[in-house]
Structures are given as structure tokens and as C-alpha cells.
Symmetry: C2
Subunit: 330 residues, 2 copies
DNA sequence: GACCATCTTGCAAGCGCTTTCATACCCTGC
DNA sequence: GCAGGGTATGAAAGCGCTTGCAAGATGGTC
């Protein structure tokens, strides 16, 4: 603390009242006479006083903090969700404290420790690979997005990824494609595996052989996966990628190979990150609406912190048709 | 605090020592006999004890927290910088606490208050429009990126945007372009204005009339700006955008208009966000390396917090040539 | 064996705030 | 004029931790 902040005692002295009274006007926890209220307010103003949340938390016995664990602040998918949650939490007394797990389990566990230390009253898990066993000892309610976690005081917001992936694949099938590949990943969580399952189901139903390669859910992985894909299955006419970053990476490889999208190959992504609509051609993808996900998560958080059971109605996943898919004749 | 955490007193009781001793082994602030160390460690282990940073901060009189103010967690430019700073700070005892200003001055001021309340020991400003006058009363050292701030205990990391913009424009000129437009913004900070100045200078030197339109530094603004641009200056052959998001937005408009990049129009961005290299064609842009910026900022932070004057050597801005610019004959 | 230096340890105060409890005060009603 | 019931306020304890201070223990020296 560079320059020492004024304390409640100083405010009290200046206003000619006791610290207790200052606290009461600050929190509105008891009636205080008009004149003292005024005196206190003036003293606060003059001193530029800001109460210390640290001390408040300690005294009140609660932190009003909620932890949000996400893979990476730079993620085009999780970043906007974090932003949305933060925005929704603004009008509440609760403050998010966001920590990145940097895509590593160790870091995620460290982050958890950190949050535990800070006595967060709940934790939101975005795209982590944590297991229930690591969470239970925290003794804090958990809200997970994208993975199904079971345990006491644990809730999950999981959207129907399998169904959405199934529909996305069906969509390609209906457009006449038969040689459809999927770029999945070993790195992702349950949602990524579900997408693979949905793809498989659609292919199986048509008696088609699935073609699956794996990336890292990042652009470079998508690029490499596309290379592998075309080497192994040169007659592929459509690619369904497990996320938009992968699709965008794949698209660059196609471009470099001189393959046009959608004329030579059709492409479908997943997530609908902000930049998806601005790709050339605009990327057809399954939309996971960050804003709504953030809202739902924040709402569940509020319920949770008021001791209620959170209502987590799943958000429908919509395929948004843009320009990266072409109809082909059989 | 859902389930009450064990306190230092419980650990002490269990280990058969005083709380002071536990504190000493925790902090290594004094010698403690081997056997007691072991007893304490065991007790900590058994109880699953984690010290409360809140209480520690209060008692120590310092928070070990640094505030990081950025416009938006979802920003493809600032997100990665935040990530980089966080990563660099990991091995230090300092913890970043990031708050978004949501592109609004009021919010930024609120965020500042929040940070002040939390007794952060320093504040990093990323892309804000705050003025020195709002910062001074905080009494905390400030580190600004992208804007030059003067004041006591205030430092700025400002890269030579004007020069880089000048060179980017020169680059286009050397490629034979003469009808070069710039998409700027009223919304940005000093760096955006500097880019405009650099562009102007290059154009003036060649006796060319500048063509400037304005966006909001987001994709949609770039799209709209491109529309306006082509309406007002149909013979434009190259666009230099104030940032990559703008360039990407503009590019979509060109695409919809049936204009090819770079065949019909060349495009240059600024920032080199992660997705820039994956655009089609890959976007030629001025690189502001997030990783290095983060590192420099974190290093300055460490210096600062150790009472030293931070050394902020500017990072060179490089034009990275990719595929969105074509040479034209005069 | 007395004395002193050194090391380990506990006591207690204090960090900035909240909150319980008790006190002092004022008003009402008889 | 006094008992009774509110109401506004302050004193003080306590939240979980650190740290200055002093006491006790240990060992070495003359």
C-alpha cells in the first residue's frame, strides 16, 4: 500500500462519531440520525475514503467473490463468455475473480487452490478438464460449463453438443456430401467428444465411413489436421471441425493448397466465435451464444449464492448457415 | 464461506504450537526447530489448511495484488496481452486482478475504485481512455500501455505507432498504390491517433490526398467504414486499417461486393491478432507482439513493486508481410 | 558454576472492519 | 412526575493473520 488509505476510524473521528456508526451508514444496517449521516458522508468525501473489501470480508465472514476458471484469457470462445458473466454480475454484490488454467491440469489445480484461499463462495468452470474428486474438497458449490460433473453442490450447464453435431453433419449430408470428415481433438473435454459422437452417428446412419483426424482445437492444429486429412482422404468434400479455430486453421491450409471454399470443399465449424461471421467466406457454424451462456451462468450463480437450487435450462444450439457450405450433386 | 475453513489457530492447536509458530513456518520468517516444522506441516496437511490471503494482506499491510484494467475480456488484442502478463506474473508473489472497463469511461472509473478498494499496489492500463487527473488520487503507481500519461509514479509503454503506420503506408506506396485510404476511429486512444498521423505524413510526403473514414475498431465498424469508403472514393486501391478487427470487417464488405483481396484491393491491418495470420488471404499487418508486450509490462511491474524505476524499452513494431497486398503498376 | 550470547518460542497487539450488547436518551401515557 | 418502550449510539470483541517483544532454553566460555 503505497500511500496509506484513510481508515474507518479516521472517518469516524473527523465526523465526530464512532466507527460503528460509520459502518452503519456505509452498510445501511441500522438507522442513523440525519445529521450524523450527513457528517459521515462529508467526512468520507473529504478524506476520499474507500472501505477495504479485505477487511470487510474478514469481518463479515464472507467474501462476495466467485471464482471463474477458464483456459486462457486470449481464447476467442471463452474470453467473450467471461466478459458476459462479468457484465451480468456487475449489478450484483458479487465480484468475479478470473484465473486462467493455461490449458494445463497442474495450473488448473493451482488456480483452484488460489480460489480456495480467496474464499470464493462459488466457482465456475469453463472448459477445464478437472474431475469431481479434485473439486469436492473445496467445499464450495461448483458450476461447470461444457462438462458433466457429479457431486454434492455441483451443477453443470451442458448443451446438447452431440445433437448439434449430428444436425450439422446431417446438414452436410442433405447438401449432398458423402465424403465428410471430422477434425476432433484429444485435448478437449466432454463437449468435444460429444461432437465426435454426433458426427459418427449421422455418418453411421447413412452407412458412411467416418473420417476423423485430430487437432489441438487451435488454428495451427486445424491447419495440420487438414493436411493430414487430405493426404489420407483426398476425395473429401466437406469438413466438420470441432471448433471454429480448427475450421479457420483448416481453411488456411485449403487456401494454400489452392482449394476453394465452398466450391471445392465445404466447411462447418462449431462455437460461432465473433470472427466466424467475418471469415471469407463467412463460416457456417453451430452457434454457442456467449452472451446467453454468460447470462445463464451468472443467473445460476445468483441463485446458488442465495442458497437456491440453480435452474439451468439448456440453451439450444443452432446451426447458422453462412457461406462456407455448397450443395453438391450426387 | 460455505464450509468454514480451518484457521491458523486450529493448525496451531493440532500441532501443539502457537499460531505465531505456524505463521513462521508458513512464511519462513524465522527459524523453527525441525520437529515443530514437521508437526506443523502435518497438521496443515491433515486439516487441508490454506491460509487466507485476505487476512494475510490485512495483517501484512500489503496486498500483493496488481490491477489490470482492460476494455474487454473478449478482445482479440487485449485478451492475449492479459494472458501474457498473467503468465509472466505467475512465478512472482504478485497476483493480477483483471477488470474490464467495457469500453466506457464510467465503468473504467468504477473499475479504478474497485481496484483502489482492493488496495492494489500498482495498476496497468491497457487501452483505456483515462486521464492523469483520474489516476493521481489513487496514489498508486500506474503503468500505461498505448497512451502517454504524465504524472508522479506514472510510466507508459508506448510503441512508435506513428512511425509504424508511416512505414505501413510507405510500403503500400512502394507497391505502387496511390489511392490509399485509412480507416481510423474516434473511439481509440492515442495509439489510434498516432497511426492516423503516420498515414497522413506518408501521404503528404507524396503529395497525395488522404482519404480517411472512421469506424469503431470492431469488425462491424470496419465493414461499415469500407462501405462508406468505396462510396466516397470508388477508385481506392488499398486500405490501411487502424487495427486488424477493422481490416477484417472491411474485408468482408469487399468480399460481399465481389472485390477480391489483394487483386482488386490491398489491405493492411494493425496489431497482428492471432487470427490475422489465418485470414484468407493472410492479413498483412503491423505486429504488436502480445507476448513481448506482456513480458515488458510484467517486468516493469516487478521493478516498480521493488521500488525501482521501471525500464520500459520500447518494442519495435514490425510490418509482417502476408498475402493481402498486391503490387500495382502506376 | 556463574555468566552471557544465541536461538527458539509464545504472548499480545494490531491490521480495518462488523456486530452484539448495553447504555443513554427521548417520548408517551397514566 | 414517573414507569415503560423505542431508538440512536458507542464500547468492545472478534474475523484470521503477522510481528515486535520478551521469556525461556541451550550451549559455550572463563
Amino acid at each position: 500500500m503505497t500511500r496509506t488509505h484513510p481508515t474507518i476510524a479516521e472517518v469516524a473521528r473527523r465526523a465526530g462519531v464512532s466507527p460503528a456508526t460509520v459502518s452503519r451508514v456505509l452498510n445501511g444496517t441500522a438507522r442513523v440520525s440525519q445529521e450524523k449521516v450527513r457528517a459521515v458522508l462529508r467526512a468520507i468525501e473529504e478524506l476520499g475514503y474507500t472501505p477495504s473489501p479485505l477487511a470487510q470480508s474478514l469481518a463479515k465472514g464472507r467474501s462476495y467473490a466467485v471464482g471463474i476458471l477458464l483456459p486462457d484469457f486470449g481464447s476467442p470462445f471463452y474470453g467473450p463468455i467471461l466478459e458476459a458473466i462479468t457484465l451480468e454480475l456487475e449489478p450484483t454484490p458479487f465480484r468475479p475473480i478470473a484465473v486462467p488454467g493455461h490449458w494445463s491440469l497442474v495450473r488448473e489445480l493451482e488456480a483452484l487452490d488460489f480460489l480456495k484461499g480467496h474464499r470464493v463462495e462459488a466457482i465456475v468452470l469453463l472448459g477445464t478438464s478437472l474431475e469431481a474428486s479434485a473439486l469436492e474438497p473445496l467445499g464450495v458449490p461448483i458450476l461447470a460449463f461444457g462438462q458433466r460433473l457429479l457431486g454434492p453442490r455441483t451443477w453443470s450447464l451442458v448443451l446438447n453438443n452431440r445433437e448439434a453435431a449430428y444436425r450439422a453433419t446431417r446438414y452436410l449430408l442433405e447438401k449432398g456430401h458423402r465424403h465428410i470428415a471430422h477434425i476432433s481433438s484429444h485435448r478437449g473435454g466432454m463437449d468435444v467428444r460429444e461432437r465426435l459422437l454426433g458426427y459418427r452417428k449421422a455418418m453411421r446412419e447413412m452407412g458412411l465411413a467416418p473420417r476423423v483426424v485430430y487437432g489441438n482445437l487451435q488454428e495451427d492444429g486445424g491447419y495440420e489436421a487438414a493436411r493430414e486429412l487430405l493426404a489420407r482422404f483426398p476425395d473429401t468434400t466437406a469438413i466438420f471441425a470441432a471448433n471454429d479455430q480448427t475450421a479457420i486453421g483448416a481453411r488456411l491450409y485449403l487456401f494454400e493448397r489452392g482449394l476453394a471454399v465452398p466450391e471445392d470443399l465445404s466447411l462447418v465449424g462449431f462455437d460461432d466465435i465473433p470472427l466466424a461471421a467475418y471469415q471469407v467466406p463467412p463460416l457456417t457454424t453451430v452457434r454457442q451464444p456467449a452472451r446467453e451462456v454468460g447470462r445463464a451462468l451468472a443467473q445460476a450463480l445468483k441463485d446458488l449464492l442465495q442458497g437456491e437450487t440453480p435452474s439451468l435450462s439448456p440453451i439450444p444450439l443452432q446451426l447458422v448457415e453462412r457461406g462456407s457450405v455448397k450443395e453438391v450433386r450426387a
